[in-house]
Amino acid sequence: MSYTSIKFLIFVTITVLVYFLFPKKFKEYKWTVLLVASYVFYIFAGIQYIGFILFTTTSTFLGALWMDKMSRSSKNYLKEHKGDLSRDEKKKYKERTKRNKKLVLALILVLNFGVLAFLKYAKVLFMGGVGDLLVVLGISFYTFQSMGYLIDIYRDTVPAQRNYFKFALFVSFFPQIVQGPIGIYSSLAEQLYQPHDFDYDRFRHGFMLILWGLVKKMAIADNAYIAIRSVTDHYQAYGGTTLLFTVVLYAFQLYMDFSGGIDISRGVAQIFGIDMMENFRRPYFSKDISEYWRRWHISLGNWFKTYLFYPLAMSNAFLTVSKNIKKSKFGSTAAGAHIAKVLPTSFASFVVFFMVGVWHGANWKYVAFGVYNGAIIMLAVLMKPVFEAILKKLHINPDCAPYKGFRIIRTFILILVGYVFDVAPSFEESMMTFRLIFTDQNLKVGWGEISELGLSKYALIYLAICVVFIFIVSVIQERHATTTIRSLLDKKPAIIRWGAVYLAIMVILIFGVYGSGFNAADFVYAQF
């Protein structure tokens, strides 16, 4: 059941009606409507997937309870024996508890990430010997979300959920199961369990967000995908100009596709009174790659930052390396001191992005994608003093608008380089793409090829208009970062507010890609 299908629309409508018409007498059980809906949604996607999500739910739930029990027993024991134990004994006892919790955590992490890794990489690792494996809907997203919760329990930052079904809802909440955003237990769970009453403004805003997501996905991304698919289906047949055009188009398509899907998810959740975290903040306005990753797929970035980056950067091994550099002769120089200071974080960034690349799929091109991003970020941090010195020498004010513009364009080009790995079917073909982009530029040939990618001249003009429109909307959003376009529209006369809704629906109906005449793309990130 795709988020862009009529079935989903009907499904959401029924769920909304049941949720808000739920008897007030039993309002504390309102969340069960969402749980049932989530599992119905999941079963619609394929009954064969259900075992995987139940395994993650059950193992995480039990693991969390087990660790929570350890923590509470430990606390009680220490409380009961407050006077009996020496400081060392207390410390040792705490360490033993921590070690035991760590063992449980490791066991559950290995089990769950093991399943994920097996499904993602087994086919490649065993040379295709295990046959076609299941692409389990949303497994990455719910695994990350559940494991985040488990780590939070390990860290004692959230209380363990004692109701299995409530926890099952946190893992399976249907608007986010396909492609995120990856929710954090502390901010999402309570919202899911609260009995929300119908709120007209919330409904309206949620509905508008869904519409906006549908416009981005169906009327923009899927049109661009027609051309991208033509190229990727016959990748070797195209010259450098067409490949460059495809990479640029892909940047636009991917953003519209992914952020459109997230808007639909957030919009649906908002109707139920649940605020899911923002997953995009105009990423192509980033002034460096680090900022880009803080604006793109924010929930994944947060996850890696909280659960991988900080533990790595603050790990004994990394800190020891840093200390050793500081103590060395090199460490006494300005460069050495800088490197000693930033090495743990920059190397941790590299590892994080390597993992992000690996997470994207079992293909060397994704590893290259991760290494490329990690390397850029690491170099940017390590070379920061050099860049600052160059700016000073050239008398460039880093805060001036032209320089900011230059940084945005430069970052966008760096992003495009990364996308080459994504667009090309393999690592070898991504290398070929780089070669052709630099050695095979011919506008006439390129235009000839582009005009045969399945998009008419008018469709290309339409996409160009969409780019301009999205740019204008993004500028407005950027200038009003604390609010939303919907809130801005609220201040406008009714005719403009309702006109915008009318326009969005008509754009979807006329320009949207749907029906059997098209092979509409699935959400790109659903495959990860």
Binding site: I6, Y200, S456, K457, Y458, A459, Y462, A494, W498, V501, Y502, I505, M506, L509, I510, F511, G512, V513, Y514, G515, S516, G517, F518
Partner: protein, 398 residues
């Protein structure tokens, strides 16, 4: 202070009520605006507008029970059967209820639709749809040209439910799902869209669905005379055609359709080696129809009375051009009068005025087509397309 609070409390329900009312009004207005726009776009803009759409929809604009003769079939029909000329020469009203590539599986729906909206003295069925091969039956487009242009009715619904796979049915009830992707290719259809809007506003169409190409058959193949021995042979029909034809004949019998009110025909074609098998399948169809007790007349054999010249009266071996259209319509009209006693229905003044208008338009159409035929310009599709009609109108007073 207390008073003012009380006042506010009293006013609240009214404000709340007004807010609800305004919301309901806005939501209903939005829904209405979307429905109206969608229906308009679906009906006239993104609807695969072409001569088929203009013709079939034009049929439904005719007032109930005002058409004397309706001809059902495929492209032969609207190329060779001119209602304007029938009305001018013989006074009876007629209409070609036909679409390009229409197969025999459309016969029942088309027949039902004609009977649902009109009470013709005679329904002519051109049998080309039963000559087609199986592949023509598998082409979605041959079905869509009919179905998409029929207003919602029992027979339309029946056809969708029986012929279309369940997951695709929604696209037949809501053709916008199918055709919305054609927004970037509207250059070719905009003339037909405008014409359909004009027809709708006017309440009828001017040329009654006829269409031709402004060219001559190039005589690149040897024409086989009807006296040739091979023309007497029969050839089996393709499975799907055969089944569809038998099913239709069975339906006619089950409905108790009077044999005097239905006539199966074969319109004139040029027969060459290439389409000889089609001619022979026509012979088989003739036998099947007659065996089932219905009347069949073939106008294919060279008939000096029709006097069709393959070189001058056809634009290809399957279709007559404007010259052939005039000759054959005159012949067929007279044939219908003589053999079926077709006499004009009494029309109201308004209806008569409408049909009277078709005469000068048909004459102008003929003049334009004839001029285009002898012109050096590339062959052109000529029908009631807005842009073509602008040219045709120039011949109205000449």
């Amino acid at each position: 202070m207390k008073k003012s609070t009380e006042k506010k409390t009293k006013k609240q329900p009214n404000t709340k009520g007004r807010t609800y009312r305004n919301r309901v009004i806005m939501i209903l207005s939005l829904v209405l605006a979307i429905v109206v726009t969608t229906m308009f776009v679906q009906e006239f803009i993104l609807c695969n507008a072409d001569h088929n759409a203009e013709r079939i929809r034009g049929f439904y604009l005719e007032e109930e029970n005002t058409i004397d003769v309706v001809a059902i079939g495929s492209s032969e029909v609207y190329c060779g059967f001119a209602p304007g000329l029938n009305y001018k020469e013989y006074g009876f009203t007629s209409y070609p209820y036909a679409t390009e590539g229409s197969t025999a599986r459309n016969f029942k729906t088309m027949f039902d639709e004609v009977r649902r909206t009109q009470d013709p003295k005679l329904i002519i069925i051109e049998i080309n749809g039963a000559i087609y091969g199986n592949t023509n039956f598998d082409k979605d487009v041959n079905l869509r040209r009919v179905i998409d242009n029929i207003p919602m009715s029992k027979s339309k619904s029946e056809m969708i439910e029986t012929e279309i796979e369940p997951d695709k049915r929604i696209e037949y009830y809501m053709p916008l799902i199918k055709y919305h992707g054609g927004w970037d290719n509207m250059g070719n259809s905009i003339g037909w869209s405008i014409s359909m809007i004009q027809d709708k506003l006017r309440g009828y169409n001017m040329l009654k669905g006829i269409k031709t190409y402004s060219t001559y058959y190039d005589m690149s193949e040897k024409v086989i005379p009807s006296t040739d021995r091979s023309m007497k042979l029969k050839r089996p029909l393709f499975k799907k055609s055969h089944e569809a034809l038998l099913e239709f004949l069975k339906y006619l019998k089950s409905e108790g359709v009077s044999k005097d009110r239905i006539l199966f025909v074969r319109f004139p074609h040029v027969t060459t080696e290439r389409n000889l098998t089609r001619y022979q399948r026509g012979n088989t169809i003739a036998s099947i129809i007659r065996d089932n007790g219905f009347r069949f007349v073939s106008f294919e054999p060279d008939d000096p009375e029709i006097n069709l010249d393959p070189e001058k009266d056809f634009y290809n071996i399957e279709h007559m051009n404007i010259n052939g259209q005039q000759k054959f319509t005159r012949y067929l009209g007279k044939y219908l009068q003589t053999h079926y006693g077709i006499t004009p229905t009494k029309l109201t003044e308004e209806q008569k005025e409408e049909w009277d208008k078709t005469i000068p338009y048909y004459d102008a159409y003929v003049k334009y087509c004839v001029e285009m035929l002898d012109d050096d310009s590339p062959p052109q599709e000529i029908g009631e397309n807005y842009f073509t009609m602008r040219e045709i109108k120039k011949y109205l007073d000449t």
